[in-house]
Amino acid sequence: MAKRVEQLESVVIRFAGDSGDGMQLTGGRFTSETALVGNDLATFPDFPAEIRAPAGSLPGVSGFQLHFADHDILTPGDRPDVLVVMNPAALKTNLADLPKGGTLIVDTDAFTERNLKKAGYDASPLEDGSLAGYQVHAVQLTSMTVGALKEIEGVTAREAERAKNMFALGLMSWLYGRPVDSTLEFLEKKFAKRPEIAAANIKAFNTGYAFGETSESFAVQYEVKAASLQPGLYRQITGNTALSWGLLAASKLSKLPLFLGAYPITPASSILEELAKHKAFGVRTFQAEDEIAAAGAALGASFGGSLGVTTSAGPGVVLKSETVGLAVTLELPLVIIDVQRAGPSTGMPTKPEQGDLLMVLFGRNSESPVPVLAASSPGDCFYAAIEAVRVALTYRTPVYLLSDAYLANGAEPWLVPDIAALAPIDVDFAQPNGEVFQPYARDPATLARPWAIPGTPGLEHRVGGLEKANITGSISYDPENHDLMTQLRAQKVAGVQVPALEVDHQEGADVLVLSWGGTYGPVHAGVRQVRAAGGKAAHAHLRWLNPFPSNLGDVLRSYERVLIPEMNLGQLLQLVRARYLVDAVGYNRVTGKPFKAGEIADAVEALQ
């Protein structure tokens, strides 16, 4: 019998379970199904750094939150509408985020005495009435999965149990009317070498789906219609994949071979892994002995005329700073990618933060200016990478590109770019012209010096970390020359052409919210909430942190109040106040989780 179908505009689902329960896979598949429906979506995978924390423990809980809607959305959602928990620890760590009245789907089989104890429950919350305010669906998820798989030969009891996440996915797929074919194909492919495991997972998925259809526990099926996004071909993408492909695109646009030097580090490693797959694009990936060598090799490749890139997170970037300083004085292109994570030191490796801004701006000896930009969304990482390369190559300078753990792993629908429509990046290697080669002569427009690569006859020259005489590049200790060279290096970076800051102004708004980097989604969603509630606020989002857009001062001064939300203790705030003498205020939280739109809205409203 067909069940009632209810229309929803948007839904936030969170899957939570043990690290070994396959929550990331489950979330990823639900995301793919949702993308195919044409919903707008945003995801937030939230997992511990430990690969397998002790089973059933609180630190071992892994979560995946997905927000999907029939309209454009900006964040994975502040709080879930639906929480799927696979064990007591997942309930304990996630229940506080579920609003009263929210839907809770629980695998009751996992609520054993032992698991309850591990999660710190004295009594089962399923029985003590503490969940009374929620719509609880108690499902014997594990035993139903195991029961359904009995007839499949060659599958052990343990393997059958492990398929319970597919039961949960099947149930959720029914509940929200998701298309199932892509998941079935995915499972067949993933377990192609073990057809019995593929069969088990497919059976578990179908059983979960059928359970939704027939169980009286679920009276209503929901529908979220496609969003009206810009027409075109879409796929979903995570920040690190987009960033990797952006580097491939930049290599193609500049006609320079890409050389990536990297050392494995969370949450940047997947860029190295992604690019290592694409040797057909002429990419050389070099897994170095350490972060220092990764940067050094990239700079060496750049000296030879490659597009030299090095990727890391904050704890690795600190080690690269001497190489970045060398690149500053050699005036050679180098792109350094910092996928920021919560710190200091090792900190919380899988969690996002914006704490590295001042480090990349100033964390080098002496005056060593470096352009810095930051990506604003997973898909934007593609374009930010191209822009970083464009500036590095045009101005012969190291460039820092900031991403973060949230952008790196978060996914969103992405309008597939038309590669042919991307602007080429012109690179003119120096050529002999019969005159004495001057390695530190400068292009009057960009102040860039010539890039003369080994193999070019007649342009043999030496560069190094010692101060160089203007124009000739010979070693120089001349006081006036050092002052001049310091000024020239500063002027070159200050003169990097960056687009004017665009303001999403609202008539009558006297509060400007200024954000940067990976907080774009929640900050803009927060501003929308303010407006929806009748308040007024303008929003501007900085892509370039060095140099700032030339109109930034004027923009700041045209508002009575400026709020700068950052996932740090006020780094951009400090720069803006110092540079523009504007009495901006900060909203600063470092929880290791992305901002919620609601807290931004509250901060804006507090200023009204």
Binding site: S32, A35, L36, G38, A226, S228, L229, Q230, P231, L233, Y234, R235, Q236, W245, K252, P257, F259, G261, H278, K279, A280, F281, F286, A288, E289, D290, I292, A293, G296, A297, A298, L299, G300, A301, S302, F303, S306, G308, E322, T323, V416, P417, D418, I419, A420, P454, G455, T456, P457, G458, L459, E460, H461, R462, V463, G464, G465, L466, S474, I475
Partner: protein, 299 residues
């Protein structure tokens, strides 16, 4: 045009102390360069920091004076991305055995096609005479007024331990011996490690007199022949023989082995990586890549 040693002298004034062993090494390298048979633009010298690291400034080739200890890493990036170049690293005992020790062993392990000349003077010269990782124990210096307590590295044993495919030793003032070693190193495809005893006449004068001045103590190694009275028959392809000879010192045997200790062929890192690029599946179609996976059409 046939190049000569003069063609490899840059216009920069050489600023080592008068009497420094580096002058003789520079002259030997400049004299040898024409033998490479390469145009100057195809040759790159990369160094780190220290007295030896000024070397690239004096060579009329491409060059980079980089960061303390990092030259092998920078050279790895260059040699790997530009296999058409002849890439040389000039380093010292502090530069590559102390602050850059990690990069040295990994460049050797990977067998990157670079030639590493380690100018060993057993002292920190440019920072004015502190003991180095190759200084003998008990060395009295500014930073060790009561004598150093740490034991020194044996650079050749270290290189062999890192599985270097070419390991040799020469003397700064022994031009024929040094030139022969340079010739062999240049001919070797892969990483070549050459230790050059170099006299620092300011802070460690006479450190190698026992072999610079007392020529009877030089034991020139010849492949296939007994190595003096050491009891070892020299075999450049035999790791055990090379290692045993690396332990022969003036203290243990009254002689100093010179020449090529080890020379074996193993595919180089850059060749192996280039082969992966050449054999990579796919046509490098970026438009196809960005449109791959599960896609959907809107509008």
């Amino acid at each position: 045009m046939t190049l000569t040693a003069k063609d490899f002298k840059s216009d920069q004034e050489v600023r080592w102390c008068p009497g420094c062993g580096d002058y003789a090494i520079l002259a030997a390298v400049q004299s040898f360069m024409p033998e490479l048979g390469l145009e100057r633009e195809k040759i790159v010298f990369i160094s780190g920091i220290g007295c030896a690291a000024r070397f690239p400034y004096y060579m009329q080739t491409y060059g980079m004076h980089s960061i303390h200890g990092r030259a092998p890493a920078i050279a790895t990036g260059l040699a790997t991305s530009r296999p058409d170049l002849s890439v040389w690293v000039v380093t010292g005992d502090g530069d590559s055995l102390s602050i850059g020790g990690n990069h040295l062993i990994h460049a050797l392990r990977r067998n990157v096609n670079i030639k590493i000349l380690l100018l060993n003077n057993q002292i920190y010269g440019l920072t004015k005479g502190q003991y180095s990782p190759t200084s003998e124990q008990g060395k009295v210096t500014g930073s060790t007024p009561m004598g150093s307590v740490d034991y020194p590295f044996n650079p050749l044993s270290l290189a062999l331990g890192a599985d270097a495919t070419f390991v040799a030793r020469a003397l700064d003032t022994d031009k024929p011996g040094l030139t022969e070693v340079l010739r062999r190193a240049a001919a070797h495809k892969g990483a070549a490690f050459v230790e050059i005893f170099q006299n620092c006449n300011i802070y460690n004068d006479g450190a190698f007199d026992f072999v610079r001045d007392e020529k009877e103590n030089r034991l020139y190694l010849k492949h296939g022949e007994p190595a003096g009275d050491t009891g070892v028959t020299h075999d450049e392809t035999d790791f055990a023989a090379a290692f045993e000879l690396s332990r022969v010192t003036i203290e243990t045997h009254g002689v100093v082995p010179l020449g090529v200790f080890r020379d074996v062929q193993r595919e180089s890192y850059d060749d192996l990586l280039a082969a992966q690029l050449a054999n990579a599946k796919g046509d490098g179609d970026l438009q196809a890549l960005v449109a791959s996976g599960d896609t959907w059409q809107i509008g």
